[in-house]
């Protein structure tokens, strides 16, 4: 088996999720009842037997570090390899690089020291369940310099506009990387590359004063190098806005979508909270809802997602909403098309109703 190391590059990701990213980066946004966005990326790596993972963090990474700890939840608390959270080194006197190449430059030791022969570089906004060993097999078979991962989407949504698209020939070789809004070959911000080749490309990019590794090191070299396209066909969600967050969260209430993302053989790991099982009382009525542990539900909940430790008092009604960790919804409150960030408190009888296409978002720790 070939050894792969992982880099989770958050450097270029924008924090576009309004209230949810005021004080945290997109990778740390809670998702799907008990996870953070980055859990899916790291779990994909763990499930692909990647034992060494670096996280390039630039902004608002306090809650991310709190969540990741030493990587124990993903089995990455290792003597060899493990999890490395790597913010940029602001004081490196040898550093002439810009953009995310600054990260590659500052942390070139991670690439030098890893025992792996290949590197997977991924962002955190493409939620999927993928096996990178399979990608590597195809990469080697195609004798590619770089293999980029993409998904053919059935329907284009606004979130796809910000993603790169691929033109691919009959041999699955990438012929163009562009931003054409009508293309449905959505690049998933993930690629696999040989370690030594990556090192060489980084050196060249820095020497030439480039700033963005993917754009300047890979996309710009498209005519000279062999970029192979790997098609991912499983459940995929690109989340880079409140609207895409809300729509893709609701999609998980569909059994098929749910089963494709949460697989027994490739589970999604996350930090453990040791909550008790959720408690449904005599007065509760719940339907079509995902519920994490530690909840106490006395009221009515439908078409919603409840994170860990949420309390819904008797008489409260929650519809089409996402309620994050430890929120308390008091009696007779009504929530519809709402996203509540962590630790919110909705007092007795309060009504909050958002539009189905634009949910009402309440920032963390608010009392209403």
């Amino acid at each position: 088996m070939d050894r792969i190391a992982g880099i989770i590059n958050l450097d270029h990701e924008q924090d576009m999720m309004d209230e949810l990213t005021y004080f945290r980066c997109g990778a740390a946004v809670p998702f799907a009842g008990r996870y953070r966005m980055i859990d899916f990326t790291i779990s994909n790596m763990t499930n692909s037997r990647i034992e060494s993972v670096a996280v390039f963090a630039r902004r608002k990474y306090r809650s991310l570090m709190d969540h990741l700890e030493q990587g124990k939840a993903w089995d990455l608390d290792r003597k060899r390899g493990g999890l490395f959270i790597l913010p940029p080194d602001w004081n490196d006197p040898t550093d002439i690089s810009k953009g995310d190449l600054q990260h590659f430059h500052n942390n070139i030791d991670f690439i030098n020291r890893t025992l792996a022969d290949y590197l997977v570089v991924s962002g955190s906004q493409n939620i999927c369940n993928i096996n990178f060993q399979d990608v590597l097999q195809e990469h080697k078979k195609a004798d590619a310099d770089v293999t980029v991962i993409y998904s053919k989407v059935d329907e284009l949504y606004p979130e796809h506009q910000r993603a790169h698209k691929l033109d691919i020939d009959e041999n699955n070789r990438v012929t163009a990387i562009h931003n054409d809004h009508s293309s449905t070959n959505v690049y998933m911000d993930m690629y696999i590359i040989e370690k030594d080749y990556m090192y060489e490309l980084i050196e060249k990019c820095i020497a030439h004063g480039c700033s963005h590794f993917f754009l300047d090191g890979i996309k710009a070299k498209l005519p000279e190098i062999n970029i192979h396209a790997y098609e991912y066909t499983g459940t995929h969600a690109l989340i880079n806005s409140i609207e895409s967050y809300y729509r893709n969260s609701s999609k998980l209430l569909d059994a098929t979508e749910h089963d494709n993302l949460f697989k027994d053989e490739a589970p999604v790991f996350t930090k453990i909270k040791n909550e008790a099982p959720s408690n449904y009382t005599e007065t509760s009525s719940v339907r079509n809802t995902m519920v994490a542990n530690g909840c106490v539900i006395e009221g009515h909940v439908e078409d919603s997602i409840l994170f860990r430790g949420v309390k819904v008092a008797e008489g409260a009604v929650i519809k089409n909403s996402i309620i994050m960790q430890r929120c308390e919804i008091e009696g007779d409150a009504v929530l519809e098309n709402v996203i509540l960030d962590k630790d919110c408190n909705i007092s007795n009888g309060k009504t909050l109703i958002g539009a189905p296409e634009k949910p009402y978002v309440v920032a963390k720790r608010r009392t209403m």
Partner: protein
């Protein structure tokens, strides 16, 4: 910093025959409880929450799953450089060896383990009870009274007192008599099987007891009577709170049902006294549009399409369409098909209940049905008229 003030010894070797086939392949302390936990989570979490960081777990009967579950103790924060959890099975030595023959024998055989920590006190626990208790408060009481031994007691209803080891105390709480299952109990203070001994005193009595040929090498039958006989200072420490022996199918079921009462005595959501347990990494539970769930505890990874009423559902359980689960305990990974009816039952881990099966007897005082052999239960095979 070699010595420890107090080391806990947890007796987890019991078979628990009264739990029938639930303990055919696992030791009783590893039996599931409360939608998420195993019985042993309670004493181990109590140790961690009480600040006791050194625990010996004495195993004997079917230890595979128990050993695996305890692991390095990280679940309870007991993965420590000095101390932590140690699994102590019976072993052979140059001069022979064999199985643990009694509770006192089990501790005596592990003198070496205890000696490495030179403890001042030893806390003896059993792995069969559901309760939340601050052992540190008991230890403080033990030290303040200058006792040689302190036994934790709980007031039981007078009519049940003849089923327990009963302590008779004077007005200061000093134990004057100990009656094992007395026909005419003189008090209703029952021993909980939680003891703290001064280690130097206990060590001496264990060594003396080991030499006695007619001794059964048991704490209740031999060690405690011997201390009493010698007028050692033995104090009772009264525990107030929820405490339940889950030794039978009926009591295991009953203790689970206690969790569903309004404001249950045993609060599992107390953030200051958490019960730690292995978390199986399952997605959140899903309650389908046609499902109805009332008065239930449900764990992650479950998919509920049918009706769940007054029941405890462990992780990764599927309840199919039009099925009814009432007054029951469904252990991990159970797959329940469509149109199944389950009443007053405990369904053991991994069982597959096929479409249309009827299990258990809904009438209020009927016996609890146990479905405990892994495998599939065919329709009507458990039907009662």
């Amino acid at each position: 910093m070699k010595n420890k003030e107090c080391v806990a010894m947890l007796l987890a070797g019991g078979q628990g025959t009264r739990l029938k086939s639930l303990t055919k392949q696992i030791a009783k302390p590893a039996v599931y409880f409360g939608g998420k936990y195993r019985i042993i989570d309670f004493p181990l979490s109590n140790c961690t929450n009480s600040g006791i960081d050194t625990v010996g777990v004495l195993t004997q009967y079917e230890p595979l799953i128990l050993n695996d579950y305890i692991g390095i103790g990280d679940t309870w924060d007991l993965d420590r450089k000095h101390g932590g959890v140690s699994v102590l099975p019976p072993f052979m030595q140059a001069e022979g060896g064999g199985w643990y023959s009694g509770t006192a024998n089990a501790i005596h055989r592990n003198l070496k383990f205890l000696n490495q920590y030179e403890p001042e006190h030893v806390l003896i626990l059993s792995g069969d009870h559901i309760y939340k208790m601050d052992y540190n408060a008991m230890l403080n009481h033990h030290k303040e009274t200058g006792a040689d031994a302190t036994i934790s007691v709980i007031e039981v209803p007078w009519e049940d007192a003849n089923r327990f080891g009963i302590m008779n105390t004077d007005e200061e709480g000093r134990i004057t008599e100990f009656d094992e299952k007395p026909e005419y109990p003189k008090s209703n203070l029952a021993s909980m099987g939680v003891y703290i001994f001064r280690w130097d005193v206990l060590k001496q009595y264990l060594i003396e007891d080991a030499e006695k040929e007619n001794s059964s090498h048991d704490f209740g039958k031999d060690i405690i009577p011997a201390l009493l006989y010698d007028y050692k200072k033995m104090m009772a420490y009264t525990f107030e709170g929820y405490w339940k022996d889950v030794g039978t199918v009926e009591s295991l079921w009953g203790a689970n049902m206690d969790l569903l009462k309004k404001n249950p005595e045993l609060n599992l959501n107390d953030q200051r006294w958490r019960i730690y347990s292995k978390n199986p990494n399952q997605p959140p539970q899903y309650i389908a549009p046609a499902a109805t769930v009332k008065n239930a505890l449900i764990n992650e990874g479950c998919r509920i399409y049918g009706k769940v009423d007054t029941s405890i559902i462990f992780y990764d359980v599927h309840v199919g369409e039009s099925s009814v689960v009432k007054d029951s305990v469904i252990m991990p990974g159970v797959k329940i098909g469509k149109n199944v009816k389950i009443h007053r039952a405990i369904v053991a881990k991994g069982s597959v209940i096929e479409d249309g099966a009827v299990i258990g007897d809904p009438s209020p005082d009927s016996e609890i049905t146990l479905v405990a052999d892994e495998g599939s239960v065919l329709a009507t095979s458990f039907a009662t008229n």
